[in-house]
Symmetry: C2
Subunit: 224 residues, 2 copies
DNA sequence: TTCGCTTAAATTGTATACAATTATACATTG
DNA sequence: CAATGTATAATTGTATACAATTTAAGCGAA
């Protein structure tokens, strides 16, 4: 029934993305039991790619799969998000620091372009676009760090941060603040200033965390 | 042909473990092309569980899978390990800090038992057992942190640290030092002293890193 | 010989069929 | 009526069959 995103990727990948976003967008609520047959029919594919996708989602921590029992959606709790921010504060600092040393001119251009787009969509008040750009911005920095462990780690539970971003950037005041902080990080990178990059990154996450702490009153729930 | 570890788990899980350890033990060298047919025959199963295992291994970063091309083993470079230690220094500090607040009496007993075993196998000079105990020790602390993101993150690329541990703990002098540091962390946890726990963890990883930096002259190679 | 095209083999991607296990419903018995 | 055991249905686990794609080989012409 529902159309799957792009066509050029493998079905398995598309199925994975489809289920992932469905979970993150709350279409599949925490605790919901995901049967392979249901997903197959819903997405118009066979069970094989669905199974592979579910196994990957289990690795990402989005679902829990028990043998002969099936998959259930795992919720992201408030505490999870708080923990993520504590962790990110450390890791993003490392990433920014290393990126300052290794970032290429092309990547700097991409970051500049990204920030320009952020300014554009901020004017429009388009939160969804801002969220995606924010996501891209950080991905660019991870990549520029030239550290495979960093990329793997931050990519592996990327959805957690995505969820947190979604919650946070709905507030346009926070979005503006984030934009300023992004610019600060960008400047540190252009100047190849490791310390400033790390400090800016920490300040950025710290502010994001503080904002989120204020916003988080009725966000996620845990289904342990 | 080759027997797979336990019997009660699903084939898919067993296949996953089998391939994982084969890669970590160097049986499947970096760059090696893993065809599903070969793995199927080798492990005496069909392609289905093999495919699911490969997809998970891709998420772990141990192999790279390209559509219609298959999976190749990704090597762990020296730099990867160095990066891991930099990251771990931050995350283990968080984990230890949180564990000091949340650790249960049962977990403290388990840690005590673990350390006792470490002492025993250190006497015997059994490096392999020491490595596994070291792995268990840290897993216990992650678990005690009561943070799902921490557990997910550190579990997700656990093999990296495992690889590093294997390299490091071959040196019995390092093993002894590690044992002392573990005891220090354990004491911090029993005293529920967050600051001491974090500081001990950082010191532990820092020492491990320093030792590894000295040892690492001809370890891993990268196959990008 | 070498370049290029065609074709065949090998490999992965997907779907389906079958086996094993679990959950559910219903009947039987205390 | 409750509890339990059995049978049936539903769901997952695994294997195999088929389609799509890539790689390589073979063949021919310049």
């Amino acid at each position: 029934m529902k159309k799957i995103a792009q066509a050029h990727n493998s079905l398995q990948t598309q199925v994975f993305r489809a289920i992932e976003t469905a979970i993150l967008d709350g279409v599949f609520a925490p605790g919901k039991n995901l049967t392979e047959a249901m997903l197959s029919e819903e997405l118009g594919v066979s069970r094989t790619p669905v199974r592979e996708a579910l196994r990957q989602l289990e690795f990402e921590g989005l679902v829990r799969v028990e043998t002969h029992k099936g998959a259930v959606v795992v919720g992201i709790s408030e505490k999870d998000i708080r923990d993520i921010y504590a962790i990110r504060m450390q890791i993003e600092a490392l990433a920014a620091q290393w990126a300052a040393q290794n970032v290429t001119e092309e990547e700097l251009s991409a970051l500049q372009e990204n920030i320009a787009m952020q300014e554009f969509y901020f004017q429009r008040g388009d939160c969804r676009q801002l969220r995606d750009l924010d996501s891209d911005f950080h991905t660019l920095i991870y990549t520029a760090s030239r550290s495979r462990p960093i990329c793997l780690m931050l990519g592996s539970f990327h959805h957690y941060t995505s969820k947190a971003r979604s919650i946070a950037l709905v507030d346009l005041r926070r979005a503006q603040s984030a934009l300023t902080e992004h610019q600060e990080i960008y400047e540190a990178l252009t100047g190849r200033d490791c310390e400033k990059a790390a400090a800016s990154a920490i300040r950025h996450i710290e502010k994001a965390r503080a904002h989120l702490a204020a916003v988080l009153t009725d966000a996620g729930e845990n289904k342990d």
